[in-house]
């Protein structure tokens, strides 16, 4: 991890209509840092990382990403957004592969269309990425024929094919059968080891502890606590963080006072 800040979130507020999703959130992410964002459903974690690549507009504050400045309440130009998006990779909970394209075509689409890379070069690069995750023999398959774990690894390859400087993961393993979670997490861990800067929304606490440098707990419309992964997860300082962790680490031990605190599904 270097000291160069690649993402600077400054006092960002997001509302859907009247409803405040989160308010005055600030966060710095340094080059090669791995930041895990955890927290109860409905805390706005997914919405938060979607603000970073402007899939969602936000209402107040500013976000500086790889030299691009997004200001709350203003609409950046399409060209500016496209430039930003070609440098930031994103992986979705539901994979969102293009179902009508083969695995290979999914991966080479953006490099060819956005970066104007020749088909042969894009294909070579895609095959290298697929080899990395042992899926080269699936290159000509359609996504529907793949398991969830395979689809998600392809989705990560698709994002990596753009050679992003920052990767955003939105609950990449939440839709997977338990036995398929490992293969995806292992790939993400390898990326982290390779120095990729990433923000990762996850419910995998052990993974967050092992792989992330920094853990952010989002709850009740803001950041409840952030700091070095081990410290936040093992010895949280705030009561809000403690109650959340108590619930995820021992889900059967009901504590009524905590359960009232949050409701609603994440959007």
């Amino acid at each position: 991890m270097s000291n160069e800040v690649v993402v600077r979130v400054n006092n960002v507020t997001k509302r859907f209509g009247e409803r405040v999703i989160f308010e005055s959130v600030s966060l710095d992410v340094k080059k090669s840092e791995v930041v895990a964002i955890v927290g109860p459903s409905g805390a706005g974690k997914s919405t938060f990382i979607r603000c970073i690549n402007h899939l969602h507009a936000f209402d107040g504050g500013s976000i500086e990403v790889l030299g691009h400045v997004l200001v709350g309440g203003t609409q950046p130009t399409r060209a500016e957004l496209q430039q930003l998006n070609s440098k930031v990779g994103m992986v979705f909970q539901t994979f969102n592969l293009f179902p009508h394209l083969t695995v290979l075509d999914n991966i080479i689409l953006a490099p060819m269309q956005v970066k104007k890379i020749a088909r042969q070069d894009a294909t070579d690069q895609a095959m290298n990425l697929l080899k990395m995750v042992g899926l080269q023999q699936k290159a000509q398959s359609f996504p529907k024929r793949l398991s969830g774990g395979e689809q998600q690894r392809v989705a990560i390859c698709r994002a990596l094919a753009m050679e992003p400087e920052l990767m955003l993961f939105d609950e990449p393993t939440s839709m997977l059968d338990p036995e398929l979670v490992g293969e995806v997490l292992e790939f993400i861990q390898r990326l982290a080891g390779g120095g990729m800067t990433m923000l990762l929304v996850t419910h995998e606490m052990m993974f967050a502890k092992d792989v992330a440098d920094t853990v952010v707990i989002m709850a009740d419309g803001g950041i409840a606590e952030k700091g070095p992964a081990r410290q936040v997860l093992e010895a949280p300082r705030t009561e809000r963080a403690r109650s959340f962790l108590r619930r995820v680490l021992s889900p059967m031990a009901h504590d009524d006072r905590d359960l009232v605190a949050n409701g609603g599904d994440e959007t």
Binding site: F98, H100, L109, A110, V114, M162
Partner: protein, 215 residues
């Protein structure tokens, strides 16, 4: 009765050929305009989108014969004299476009939000997203509607005899008057229409299976 069949088969087939050509040409034009219209309707903002919305409402709301008569007889009063062929083509395209817009719109809206997000996150432009991601998927979900659209266009050609366009219906009508044998003549027309519709349906389901192979 058989001599009627023998006598008119050639004429009716010639008329049917005209109908098929008209259907194909007008459908191709209507589908191109319909795709553009649907994009305009969804992404065009309130003015372009609103204009297309009303166009669709008018086409779908007015009886087909009324539209045809306004175009052919109504306009001629104001000095716009169309010959039957041009009136036929203009009307079939205009009418088909109204329906095609809705078919394309439904298909485009049907594509999941996650596909838009994924495309945007990869930095694809809006145009590329439409061309490479949205439209190909929309095509698959709208194939059944597209088949019925073509059959509808074909059936609408029967109305063209009312403006004096010499299609199969026109020939059968003339024959019925001349021979006083409407039964066999109209039955022949019915058979020809059925055969053509069946062919369209057949081709449609083939194409559907082909392009939906990924599902």
């Amino acid at each position: 009765m058989f001599h009627i069949v023998a006598l008119y088969t050639g004429v009716l087939l010639k008329g049917a050929l005209k109908d098929v050509v008209l259907t194909v040409v007008s459908s191709i034009l209507a589908l191109i305009l319909g795709a553009l219209g649907a994009i305009g309707r969804i992404y065009g903002g309130p003015i372009v989108g609103g204009a297309i919305y009303w166009y669709v409402e008018i086409i779908r709301g007015l009886p087909a014969i009324l539209q045809l008569f306004i175009l052919y007889f109504g306009l001629s009063q104001f000095g716009i004299d169309l010959n039957p062929l041009s009136a036929a083509v203009i009307w079939l395209v205009a009418y088909g476009t109204g329906y095609a817009v809705e078919i394309f719109r439904a298909g485009i809206v049907d594509v999941a939000e996650g596909q838009h997000e994924a495309a945007k996150a990869l930095g694809l432009s809006r145009f590329t997203t439409l061309r490479k991601v949205i439209i190909p998927q929309a095509f698959v979900s709208m194939m059944p509607n597209l088949t019925s659209f073509l059959v509808l266009q074909l059936k609408n050609t029967t109305m063209l005899y009312l403006i004096g366009y010499a299609d199969i219906m026109y020939q059968a009508r003339l024959g019925a008057d001349a021979t006083e044998q409407p039964g066999p003549l109209y039955l022949m027309v019915a058979v020809e229409y059925l055969v053509i519709s069946a062919a369209i349906a057949r081709i449609g389901s083939r194409v559907e299976r082909r392009i939906a192979a990924y599902r």
